[in-house]
Symmetry: C2
Subunit: 118 residues, 2 copies
DNA sequence: GGGGGTGGTAACCGTTTGGTACCTACTTGT
DNA sequence: ACAAGTAGGTACCAAACGGTTACCACCCCC
């Protein structure tokens, strides 16, 4: 035990800044599906196959609190609620692109097909 | 009718590909510190303030199994083990850059003009 | 042979995260 | 009237994740 367990909290680290917002298994996936445009609650639930309504609700609430996602109730026939990326949420776009480049690069290094076909 | 699109789960989805490798609270941080060059076990433990040796070991094992990190035992006086990014691990670099851009962009939106127009 | 530093391993436990099941409230269609 | 679809909320659990505490093996130095 050389150093005290928790002596210095991170000052202004971009990594911590990022990880504070994007944690857990579902948040990246939610943002992923929202980048294609506004999406309704039920749509997201079907997009993210396997997510429970409880978790989807809580994650959307968190993202709304963090200002990455906006919630809009539509005055439509059964009642629709539309979720969309805010301007802050759109800041996530470079990360999506990077994740795509990452997985393409890994596929490339695996020596498999050039990721364009399949 | 209810859902305009329920696109099938792409078996080679870049997002899932990415998330398979980078999950949990510590893995991104470990990769972050390794990108500056090879690092010894104890160095990483000090870099990642608060991580336990158990978790650090298990994460490094996983990263090694995924081929993102290499492990090398040095024949030095006390005994050193050096971890480094492999070529596959270097594919993560765009993600780092994107995370940095993300946090800068958020800071920009926080501190600057509230230009909420569209 | 004791102390200190390295790099772990194993057992146990607590917190966090997510899942299941059941519920409300409203609206539309039959 | 009643079923079905919309968007949730709540209570209760299960599993994953991570932390704590020990302890080991090795090496060097004194």
């Amino acid at each position: 035990m050389t150093s005290p367990s928790r002596p210095a909290p991170p000052p202004d680290c971009p990594l911590e800044h990022y990880l504070h917002v994007v944690s857990g298994a579902w948040v990246p996936r939610i943002l992923w599906f929202l980048r294609f445009g506004p999406r309704r609650f039920g749509d997201l639930r079907r997009d993210l196959r396997g997510i429970s309504t409880k978790v989807l609700t809580s994650k959307l609430r968190t993202l709304e609190a963090d200002g990455l996602v906006s919630r809009r109730e539509l005055t439509t026939s059964p009642r629709h609620v539309e979720y969309a990326l805010t301007e802050r949420g759109l800041a996530f776009e470079p990360v999506f692109e990077a994740m795509i480049r990452f997985s393409h690069r890994l596929a490339e290094l695996d020596g498999a097909v050039p990721a364009e076909r399949r």
